[in-house]
Amino acid sequence: MDGTKIRSALSMMDERGSGEGAGYAVYGAFPEFADYYAIHVFFDAVHESKAAVDRELGNWGTVVHEEEIPTYENRNIRKVHTPWRYFFKPDPSLMPRSETPEDDIVMHLVMKINTTIPGALVYASGKNVGIFKAAGWPEDVADFYRIQDYSGYIWLAHNRYPTNTPGWWGGAHPFNLLGWSVVHNGEITSYGTNRRFIESYGYRCTMYTDTEVVAYLFDLLVRRHGLRPEMAVKALAPPFWDDIDRMDAKERTLYKAVRLAYGSAMMNGPFAIVVAQRDGIVGFTDRIKLRPLVCGIAGSRLYISSEEAAIRTMEPGLDEVFMPRAGEPVVGRLGK
C-alpha cells in the first residue's frame, strides 16, 4: 500500500503531538536496491561533512547509488538538514570472524559516523526500508517527502510531542538501525540502565532520546543473541516475579533465566512500542500498561495504534479490534 492512508491516520492524532516532530517508515520502499543497505543521513551542510561520510563508507564497501532524498517545499517545515540516502554494499571480508559481517560493518559505520563526524547523522541503515522524518505536523512531514509516492508492505508512523529535543529532526521517530525500526509513545525511566547495558555491547547512543535504545536492544537480543521477537519482548517487559513463581517448572526456569540474563535490558516506565523488521512487526506495552495500545485485524492486515480512531481511518471494515494485556506482545508476520 502507498502512504496516503497512513498520512491521514496519523493526522487523526494531531491532538497527541505538538507539530515539532513526525515520521514514517516504509518497508519495501526501494525494490530496485532491495539488497543494499539504505543508509540515510541528515547533513547540516552537505559540502562540509559529506566527504568524510563518503570516505568512511568507501573504507568498508561500495556505494552503488546515492541521492539527495527528494523533498518538496512546505511552508511549515524549515529545511534545516539535507536528507541523503546511500545504497551501500559492505565488503564482508573486512569483518572476519563475525557471523553477520555485513550487519556488523553497517552498525559500526553508524556508530562511527554519529560519534565522530560533526554535521552528519545516520538515522537509518536498513535494507529496503525508507525513513522519512522531520520537525513538523504529520501531514506536513508527509507532504514534505510526498510519502504517498512510496509504497511498501509495512508502514510505521509517529507523531511526536517532544519534551527533550523539540524541533530536532534526529529526535523524531521512527528510529532505525539495520532492519529495525521503532516507534514509541512514552518515557523510559530505566534509560540510564538500558544505555549502560547496550553500550557495553558496542552500541553508542547518539540521539539524545530514550527510544533509540529499543532499536539497539532488539538488534542485540534478536540478531546477535538469537532470541525470537516474542522472547525479546519478554526480556524487555518481563512477567512479574509473583507470576513467574506460579508458572510450571519449565516456564519458571525460562523466565527466571530471562530476567537474570537481561535484567538490565528490561524497560521501565510508561511505553507503548511498535518494532518492525523485514518480515514482521511486534507491538507491546510496559508491564502495567501505562500507555494505550489498540490492535485491529482486517483480512491479512494487522494494525497497531494508540487510538482506534486512527485504525478505523485506514480501515473502516475491521474484522476484529482488541486491546492486548500489559507486556503481552502482538506479533504480525509477513505472509508467504
Binding site: 555491547y201 526456569t253 540474563a261 508491564r287
Partner: protein, 502 residues
Amino acid sequence: MTIGSVPVRFRIVVDDSRCMLCGRCVENCPYDVFKKENDTIHVNSRKCVACHRCIAMCPRDAISIRERPVDYRSHPVWTEEARESIYNQARTGKIILAGMGNAKPYPIIFDSLVLDACQVTNPSIDPLREPMELRTYIGKKPGRLEFRDDGDCQTLVTNLAPNLELATPIMVGHMSYGAISLNAQKSIAMAVRESGTFMGTGEGGLHPSLYPYQDHMIVQVASGRFGVDINYLERGAAIEIKIGQGAKPGIGGHLPGEKVCEDVSSTRMIPLGSDAISPAPHHDIYSIEDLKQLVRSLKEATEWKKPVFVKIAAVHNSAAIAAGIARSSADAVVIDGFRGGTGAAPRVFRDHVGIPIEAAVASVDAKLRSQGIRNEVSIIASGGIRESADVAKVIALGADAVYIGTAALVAMGCRVCGTCYRGLCPWGIATQRPDLVARLDPAVASRNVANLIHAWTLELSELMGAAGINSIESLRGNRDRLRGYLLDESIMRVLDIKPVGA
C-alpha cells in the same frame, strides 16, 4: 608527669533534684563511672565513653552528658584530636586503636547526591496499588541465553549458576562471633530469616545454635581460616572469601585472647584464651591466580552448589581488582568502603586508608561494563550505608545489593560510642561478658533489626515508585536518576552523573 592529665572527654552531671538513687546507672555502667555511697551518686567522668546506657536506663532523666567540657585553645590544624593522639603516643609508644568506622570529617558523597522523581511526562507508580519488585538475585548471570529451536518453540539451553534470592537488596554484613556476642548474631539471624535476606558470619565460625538459620547465612573464609571446615562450608548458603575490610584495608585482624572464651574457642577452633590473629594477606594468595584457585577449591569442596563471594576493601585500584575477581569464577564481589565499621582497627588505618564506597562502586561497575563482564559478578556495596536513600543511591550507581553493619547494631541499641575494642559493650553487642551479653534479648532485638530492614524496604519501594520504576533491575546502574549537588566536576566524572539542574 611531663604531660599530665588531658581534659576529660565527657562531663557527666547527675541532677540531684531528679535522681531517686535507684542505682540503675551504677548497675548498668560497665566502665565504673558511677558509685553509690552514703546516699549519693558519685561520678567519675573520666571513665565515660558516652555509650548512653545510663541515660537510657535512668527512670528520671536525671543524667546529662556534655562532650568536651574543657576547651583547648582552638586551632584549625592542631585540633584536640591531633594533640591528644600525640599525648597518647608519647606516653605509650603504641599504635592507637579505634572502633567503628572512619571518624574524619570527610565530605559524604551520598549527602551530595539527590534522587529523581517523575511528573507529568511519565507517571509515578503507587507501590500500594501496583506491584513493586525488590527481589534481587546475587550471583553469576548468563551473558546471553542460548536456545535450541524445536520447531515451533525455542527451548532454553543455558544453565543458571546458583544465585542467592533476596526479598530485598539489604543484607547484614559480616560481624563475627567474637567481635559481637552470640545473642547479637542470633538476633540478626532471626531478623534476616524473617526478612528473606542474608547475613554474614564473619571470620568466627558458625556456632551450633545458629544452625537453624544457616540457609540465611553467608559463611566467611578469611586469612586466619578460623572455624573453617567442610561442615561449616556446607552449612552456609554462600561462601565469602574476605580479602580486605574497609575500616582497615591492607591489614589483618586481632581478637584479643580475653575475648576467646570457651564457646568462642570451640567455634573458631582455636585454643582457649589465645589471641586470634588473622594475617594481613592470605598466605596462600599472593596473586590473582591464587585467588582463583581458592575460589575454585571452595566450589569444588561444595560441589559447585554455592555462590562464592570475594570481599575487598575499597582502595584506589579496586576497579581493576574487581575485574580480576570477576574472572576468577567468583559470583559476587563485595566492596567495603572506607566508612565501614570494625570492632577494632588502628586509628591511622580507619581514618586514612581507602576510598568512599560511592566512588568505588561507580568505578567498579564502569570497569566491569567496559570489559563486558558485569554479568559475571554481582556487586555488593558496604561501608557507611545509613538509610534507605543511601541504598537507593548506591544501587543507582551500580550495586546489586548492600551489606549493612553498623546500622543493624544501632537498631539493637548501639550508640556508636566506638569503644567496641574494649569488650565491655553495655548493650550486650560487642562483648563476650555473660552478664552484659544477657542484656540483649534476641526475641526483642531481632524484631528491631527486622523492623529496620522492613522500613528501609518500604522507603525504597516508595523512592522507586516516585521514580517511575517498578523493578529494582531498572534502578541498578541508572545513574541518570542521580544528580550531584555541589560535587566537583572530577567526582561527577567518576560517578558519571550530571550536576543538579542539568
